[in-house]
Symmetry: C2
Subunit: 300 residues, 2 copies
């Protein structure tokens, strides 16, 4: 496989939401020519203004590209834009590399890879963490699954968007690694929100408590970053509740398929459904404390 | 109140287990004269050899001390050594300060304080975190509840044992802060152990996964310190499962008394009972993964 390079490698981009827009923009800034498609055309206006070519469908994106990236919403969207009748696989020439960066199902990544191989194409799964800020600053952590030769050919492109690009194993391993990440966050967020609710209700000086416990065995990124936001009453999204629910749903289904019992993840999923039921689906994951307080009849 | 000082302040120590032995030893090393009692006399032999005076009961300890510390097992033990017929309160003169450093019930701390006040004494609750290593290195984090004047009088003694001594608020606040710490750890441990089980079962390179996710939004002290031990198959105790079960039981009871719903804590408590049911009560808290794997019928 040829290693990607500006001038020779034409990239395609499907999905120009908050994440995709920044990520594709970094590639263009490095000199890559891009053809783009998004369900909502408005969201692509910035990139078009910077010289990206608009395509009428994912298929048309693929027809004009050597490497096609997608970062969309749900696994059903991934299926449509890659495997659907107007999807990327329908338009791609042999040797094209399909790179799905959506947080999606490991099993779907394997299905896409099989379909790609049958057409003489390649594929990678490469979900990210780091959120919109990481995307904007080209500081994402990218978890990659697929064949080594393909990963190495695409690495220069990943390096335009992220600061940690780690090949986790065969196809699907990127998604599995992202699921591990989300299961960790799920358990921890339940602890963080229950603990802070307890601290408020017990009448403690919660800021002092955070300083006391944040540096020790109870410390975590979530506690140290979201705890202070909760203290300020800031529930704006770093990461959307509804996206987290999607991710946990995928992880639960994968765990079930593997025969694993994950009661903590199942509970976190249910509790976040309660957060959503309170109309907080577009708020940040720290909103869990509001649902717990609501259930407890406790008002700060 | 007079600020504690070697030569003038006689200290008493009740409970010379792994923690208490180190802590009392640090005070003696700074020149404090100590009278000690422990349920198992053998455990006090080291301190006696270093010059501590042995007493036949907590009451006798208190008779010979200006400040009496206790660090024992369960709240029932605290009740016995402080409030019981041969307990410290029975022997203490007015102005004595009773300092319970056991992780125990906030409500019991308030009960002890009321009983102490009725006799013209003072009390503090001052549980610690940092484990046996923190105790040995005089590097404990000490969470203190009680009146400011009493806390400041005792601070020089705390400084012999810990590196972070934080006054959290009125009596019981030290215990409440420790409960916040344990609720955080409970939720996080469920996430850590479910996530690592998932990673193993999915066939990932778990060491690489830890490196990938440990520094980001899923990172935590527990993941970064206990994850590698799980990888090595090391289940020796940093913190005993059976002590953690005790602490979670206290937190659940306090939460219930405050009317708080804490489903994540309740689940963690149940799962750790499963760990104990598998004969792992004297292993470290990372053993939770073994119980989850056992429930899932998954053998690594």
């Amino acid at each position: 496989m040829r290693v990607a390079a500006p001038g020779t490698t034409r990239i395609g981009w499907i999905g120009t939401g908050v994440m995709g827009r920044s990520m594709c923009g970094h590639l263009m800034a490095k000199g890559y020519k891009a053809t783009i498609y998004s369900r909502t055309r408005d969201k692509a206006a910035d990139l078009v203004a910077k010289g990206a070519e608009w395509a009428a469908s994912p298929r048309e994106v693929a027809e004009k590209s050597d490497v096609v990236f997608s970062i969309v919403g749900f696994p059903a969207d991934v299926r449509e834009v890659i495997l659907g009748p107007t999807g990327a696989l329908a338009g791609a020439k042999p040797e094209t590399v399909i790179v799905d960066m959506t947080t999606s199902e490991p099993s779907l990544a394997r299905e896409i890879d099989a379909a790609a191989k049958a057409k003489g194409l390649f594929s990678l799964d490469a979900p990210v963490s780091g959120g919109d800020i990481g995307a904007r600053n080209a500081a994402l952590s990218i978890m990659v699954g697929g064949e080594t030769a393909v990963v190495e050919a695409i690495r220069p492109l990943f390096e335009c968007m992220g600061k940690s690009i780690i090949h986790q194993g065969p196809i699907g391993s990127g998604q599995h690694t992202k699921m591990v990440n989300q299961i960790l966050i799920a358990g921890n967020m339940v602890g963080v929100c229950e603990a802070l609710m307890y601290a408020f209700k017990a009448g403690l000086d919660v800021e002092r408590v955070l300083q006391t416990v944040g540096g020790g065995a109870a410390g975590s990124w979530s506690l140290n970053n979201l705890g202070p936001r909760i203290l300020k009453g800031d529930y704006e999204p770093g990461f959307f509740v509804e996206h987290f629910i999607k991710d946990m749903g995928i992880a639960l289904a994968e765990a079930k398929a593997m025969g694993l019992v994950v009661p903590g993840l199942a509970l976190a999923h249910q509790l976040y459904l309660a957060v959503q039921a309170q109309g907080l689906g577009r708020k940040g994951t720290q909103s869990l404390i509001l649902a717990l307080e609501h259930i407890s009849g406790f008002k700060r």
